[in-house]
């Protein structure tokens, strides 16, 4: 990123202001009185983006790819559902949803973080499938017939939207804080070389558990927010394998390891999926499968990598080495030679 650093100060200002500008636009959007469908689309996109940014904390920064984030999404949804049933205020239940998901993440992480690379990935597939089967058979979740939230207040699309926007902002803020902190450095060290990181005084096991819990809490909150608006959900939906896949695909498509890549991936995914799901069910996964193949083979940095390439072409800058984030996650140790 060194060429960026040398840009003139207005460029830096734009970069620093952009997130706030974006937030302001997002907060003012409902004032334009958009149609209910647009509000729903924006809401879903915000929820997905939150999960995408959260996944990126573990998958992008620490390099631990997990297929199992549906577990936290589902637990968040059910925590909110059950507590609201007991008469809690929805906002308190969101916090509780995050806490439950974080606790679950520690329970899952204790055994699975003993594994490395692809073995960790496979274990997360096992965990997410097992949890879904169990949840389908628990009385407290209402089993496969689903769970319904009854709210006495009239439905307020803007309120749901703002809650989701707050969640996105929270996820981005947490990600930025982690990325800039000593803890974030430790995570990147683990991604590059876990043994070397351990030698320099990082406890990889503990650091992974910690970032897993942070990510899970964010996903749990997103799950709770989703559940409150959906008002009806069942294990085959919130705990679905496909939910876990979606949460993984967004940051990979957007660009592994960068906060804004995860945001971009989430936004595009949310928009495209809502449209495709309505008109051609199942097509979206075909699209994402193809995208995933193309990204792995041609542009491991995802859409952010493509944008960087385009920017390089436009500015005719000297070759920018780019970030090695994606390489480290995908190929292990410091990327492959000659790419």
């Amino acid at each position: 990123m060194s060429p960026e650093k040398s840009t003139s100060s207005p460029g830096r200002w734009v970069k620093a202001l952009l997130p706030w500008l974006l937030l302001a636009v997002l907060l003012l959007l409902p004032a334009g009185n958009p149609s209910p469908n647009v509000m729903k689309l924006l809401f879903i996109t915000a929820v997905w983006t939150t999960t995408s940014v959260a996944w990126n904390l573990l998958g992008g920064m620490a390099g631990q790819v997990s297929f199992g984030f549906a577990v936290f999404f589902g637990l968040g949804a059910y925590t909110t559902g059950i507590l609201m049933h007991l008469g809690w205020s929805p906002y308190l239940t969101f916090l509780e949803a995050g806490a439950v998901a974080a606790i679950a993440s520690v329970l899952i992480g204790l055994p699975t973080f003993r594994l490395r690379g692809p073995y960790f990935v496979i274990a997360t597939i096992g965990v997410t499938e097992a949890v879904r089967v169990i949840m389908n058979n628990l009385d407290i979740t209402g089993g496969s017939s689903g769970y319904r939230i009854l709210e006495t207040k009239p439905f307020n699309a803007a309120e749901h939207y703002y809650t989701a926007i707050v969640a996105v902002a929270l996820a981005v803020a947490v990600s930025s804080l982690v990325a800039g902190s000593r803890f974030g450095l430790a995570l990147r060290a683990i991604k590059q070389d876990q043994d070397a990181a351990a030698d320099t005084g990082v406890n990889p096991y503990f650091a992974k558990l910690k970032v897993h819990a942070i990510a899970a809490a964010l996903v749990g909150i997103a799950g709770g927010i989703y559940a409150r608006r959906a008002a009806f959900f069942y294990p085959g939906d919130v705990f679905a394998f496909n939910t876990g896949i979606s949460i993984l695909l967004m940051p990979v498509i957007g660009g592994i390891g960068t906060v804004w890549g995860a945001v971009l991936g989430g936004v595009i995914f949310g928009m495209v999926q809502e449209q495709l799901d309505a008109n051609f069910p199942n097509v979206h996964l075909l699209l994402y499968g193809l995208l995933l193949i193309l990204i792995i083979l041609f542009e491991p940095d995802g859409l952010v990598g493509l944008l960087r390439r385009a920017a390089r072409l436009l500015r005719r800058r000297r070759e920018d080495p780019g970030s090695k984030d994606a390489d480290q996650v995908l190929w292990g140790r410091g990327g492959i030679a000659g790419r």
Binding site: V65, G117, P118, G126, A130, V133, I296, W331
Partner: protein
């Protein structure tokens, strides 16, 4: 549970083990030679089931023959997939996430191609044999399961012979043991990899057709079997054909007898939780053998 019931269950477990072994072995050879965790395996299983289904519905070809026909067809398909996608992956001694995600993306594509062609209705292949019981004394087994078991075992034996007796099998074993030394003594890495991928895919298609004779299927069909395959090959030490047979027997026994275990007169594992056994077992196996698994990254297991 009396003796006859127990015997019935034991036979059911062994029959299940046969098909599980055929299902997992394709994944093992691909992992062994190329160190690729083939998530598209589930897609190949699904396509195998639909392959037998289409042959049966359109041309009234017996699904067993359909399964045998799947072998050459999926062999060519697998070589095509290798040529198109897999060969571009850089060589690695340890499995990379890139290969895992690439195969995962391909699985998504296969799944959705399945949805395009067949929709998401449950399909099944029902022949007169499907429910015809073979009875010996008090023990009775559906004939189709016996046939499937026999086919699976024959195929495993053939594979074992290919491994141990043929030049191709020898070069595969060489690549598994030490890819660099193998290339020094003249093993064509690219060609062997291509053939191995074809072989693994052929077995996945074959096993998928066999599974399709027993279970109903949708384009999502392979997913539970993918996790089972992985449990089996992890139990079996990841790179050995005989290990696969052992892992398959362990998993089949647990899945069959697990729901029968009583504690204080209550079944601790209701039938509806039975699918969770393999998923739970996967995590438990990884948990209690973390050393065994992490050592796989450095130590090479020998093929037996």
């Amino acid at each position: 549970m009396n003796l006859v019931q127990g015997l019935n269950l034991l036979i059911a477990a062994l029959l299940l083990a046969g098909i599980y072994a055929a299902m997992a072995v394709g994944m093992t050879v691909i992992y062994g030679v190329m160190k690729i965790v083939n998530l598209a395996h589930a897609g190949f299983l699904m396509l195998g089931a639909y392959f037998a289904y289409e042959l049966f519905e359109r041309f009234h070809i017996d699904p067993l023959l359909g399964a045998v026909l799947a072998l050459p067809v999926f062999f060519l398909f697998g070589m095509g997939v290798h040529w198109l996608l897999v060969r571009w992956l850089p060589k690695s001694d340890t499995p990379t996430l890139a290969s895992l995600l690439l195969m995962f993306g391909f699985w998504l594509v296969l799944q959705n191609v399945g949805y395009f062609i067949w929709g998401n209705d449950d399909r099944s292949i029902s022949t007169p044999r499907t429910n015809f019981p073979v009875t010996v004394g008090e023990i009775s087994v559906p004939e189709v399961k016996l046939i499937v078991f026999a086919a699976a075992v024959v195929c495993l034996i053939v594979l074992q012979l290919v491994f141990n007796r043929s030049w191709f099998g020898r070069s595969m074993r060489a690549l598994i043991q030490n890819p660099y030394a193998a290339q020094i003594v003249g093993v064509d890495d690219a060609r062997t990899s291509r053939l191995t991928f074809g072989l693994g895919t052929a077995f996945a298609g074959f096993a998928g057709a066999l599974l399709g004779m027993i279970y109903s299927f949708t384009p999502e069909f392979g997913r539970p079997f993918l996790v089972r395959s992985f449990v089996i090959i992890v139990l079996g030490g990841l790179e050995s054909v005989s290990g696969v047979a052992l892992g398959a027997i362990v998993l089949a026994l647990l899945e069959t007898f697990g729901p029968q275990i009583k504690f204080h007169g209550e079944y601790i594992l209701p039938d509806s939780l039975q699918p969770a056994i393999s998923f739970g077992l996967l995590v438990v196996v990884l948990l209690i053998m973390p050393k065994g698994l992490s050592s796989l990254f450095t130590a090479k297991r020998r093929l037996t």
